[in-house]
Symmetry: C2
Subunit: 433 residues, 2 copies
Amino acid sequence: MKEPLKLAIAGLGTVGGGVVKVLTEEAKRIEALCGRKIEIVAVSARHRQHDRGFDIDAFRWYDDPVAMAADPDSDVFVELIGGSDGAAKLAVEQALASGKHVVTANKALIAHHGTTLARMAEENQVALQFEAAVAGGVPIIKALREGLVANGIERVSGILNGTCNYILTVMETSGREYEDVLADAQKLGYAEADPSFDVGGTDAAHKLTILASLAFGTLPDFDQVYVEGLETVTPLDIRLADDFGYKVRLLGIAQRDGKRMELRVHPTLVGKNSSLAAVTGVFNAVEVVGSHVGPVMLEGRGAGEGPTASAVVADIVDVARGNIAQPFGLPASMLEEASYKPIKDHTGAYYLRVHAVDRAGSMAEITRALAEAEVSIERIVQRKDPIPEEDNRLPVVFITHDTDEVTMQRALALLAKHKDVVDEPLLIRIEQE
Amino acid sequence: MKEPLKLAIAGLGTVGGGVVKVLTEEAKRIEALCGRKIEIVAVSARHRQHDRGFDIDAFRWYDDPVAMAADPDSDVFVELIGGSDGAAKLAVEQALASGKHVVTANKALIAHHGTTLARMAEENQVALQFEAAVAGGVPIIKALREGLVANGIERVSGILNGTCNYILTVMETSGREYEDVLADAQKLGYAEADPSFDVGGTDAAHKLTILASLAFGTLPDFDQVYVEGLETVTPLDIRLADDFGYKVRLLGIAQRDGKRMELRVHPTLVGKNSSLAAVTGVFNAVEVVGSHVGPVMLEGRGAGEGPTASAVVADIVDVARGNIAQPFGLPASMLEEASYKPIKDHTGAYYLRVHAVDRAGSMAEITRALAEAEVSIERIVQRKDPIPEEDNRLPVVFITHDTDEVTMQRALALLAKHKDVVDEPLLIRIEQE
């Protein structure tokens, strides 16, 4: 039997507490799987006194996670503090510099500082594992780094934020307004008190940054992700999209286009019968298209104590078994500095919804304006019933043929000040299967 | 840079040829990922002369795969011969005894001889990898052995045979008969000339045996799987099931029930909106329910050159990187000899279809017979239109409440000889979500 693997865990919130519980409950089986014990030797958290359902005095206590990371009496530093900078970053750097393996659930940290940290891990010949950073309990990092490694990856996309998916699918089934559903999600613990990272798309963009790097062998570069949140989507749009055969999902999409990479997070229309349309509630799903395997989809819970702890513990077991790969698959020195395709170069179909003034001829005027803006329209629907609260507005939806983003944005600006248009028009990109 | 990893490949059919192509096309990237080259040094196949699209003279040739497995000048024996016994088994045993790692796509071999081979691999401290044996390119073995390792697994189930799923979903969309669709599948290369392993459920049972062992930490035991093929399902049943809100899929289901394991492969009704109902054509999907992570689903192509080669090459890369785990996760000596729940102890809802004689009162008689057999009926549908070709038959469908298998089989036997019933009645088990 090998020596036990000694862990120091920083952060004892929902996820940290979950990791302690899973390691305790599954200790016997994990020991058999690894051929060695996994022992928590030290912990650090913001508050020592706190009812966590387990006895904290069984472990050495540190007020300062950086000091804990420097202490030689542990093999693995488990970072569950969160945040792209501050204590989390300092502690992870300290741990790697001290020759400790690092397991983290911190998407922001890896999306912003992945390259530097991967280099440090490789120089020190230790692991830097972050399965829990993307899609919670779904083993997508391992799939990209190991299971699908035979493939050149052309595209990785999916539902990367459970809060957004919960809100959109509840809006879909209940017809309730965004703010109303968000408030519920907060009560249920599905959304943070400050939900802006989730609903604004930043969280999904962090995850997409990590997925793209693993999939394409490129340096992780958060700043290259185009991000739009879901705040502008209304129940009316969800209903109208349904009329055209679509569901609304907040997708993260990373795609190769020749030598350029396209990275974007935004509300998206997907076909009603697509796999992603079937993903509802707090579930996440990631689809990878590989050169040999074709499309592969992984789906499961993207957040919460159990799923996140499941991923963190899997990473710890990998370290215990000696399965230590380079953090991004390729050595950090070989990751490519990619060139990126900005959103203005995007081409695709669009859903464009305007509220027209309720008078004879307004729709014809708007349609003409769009034609003059060189938008090629595939289908138009005008709802016969005006919006109840404001009976002077008639929703009109245009579904376009493939059009480029610049043309669409120009048309959008035109319509926004068109005499027959009330309120802001809304544009949602469509992904065809 | 480490020494190259030397491969000997036995079997150069669709999958073997695919593996050679993938290793050639992806050589540069794989070398960067592994920090070493992967070299094919020897091959063996039934016929040396054969246009395979690559130059066979670049490798040492063996007529006998067992001799190749004994040759010390290779590190990994890649077995792509197939079959549970014969040359495949002899060669794999020889390779393991010679201290070589083995990578195989052979589900029958692992389902029947997994325990013995795992013991040999562990004694010789080599890998025995079989990702390609289950669900083709979908990395489900790795997910169970590594990615979801933190979880006690309660259930693993799914669509494990692409041929069956292709046939069922084409019957569903086209209304065509089984034999007709099977003939097409054979022309398209989706079904073998002798399709009995696929359509009879044996292939899915091989895969389920392997999944159950990995999921539950039990000795693989193919003989414990209850198997029913899809040959008895008619387009009429698919249509009638649809009326009740179900789709028909051939599922493999492995489930813990207290101390007993239930392993079964049979046609199954699943809810129209379930994830498995959304899996169509040659795709496979496996759902795992873990104690911490909850349900996780993986979906992708279950067969074919590219997907299968993708899985084989991923296994080879694992060996090249030194990621060598015990074949079934736990050491073979710790795998449990499980007790099994026979199909007669199954309880669940059932779809029961009979063809009633078209006369007043026949349906009442049949319903009464069922009630007397103590089958609790939830819903009944009698199609008003008799079957066109034989206008004396009226299909009647009963959906039962939870009932035990013994009661249902007794009722089935009763109905089969009932005076108002024509032809064999059909029973399909229902899986509720």
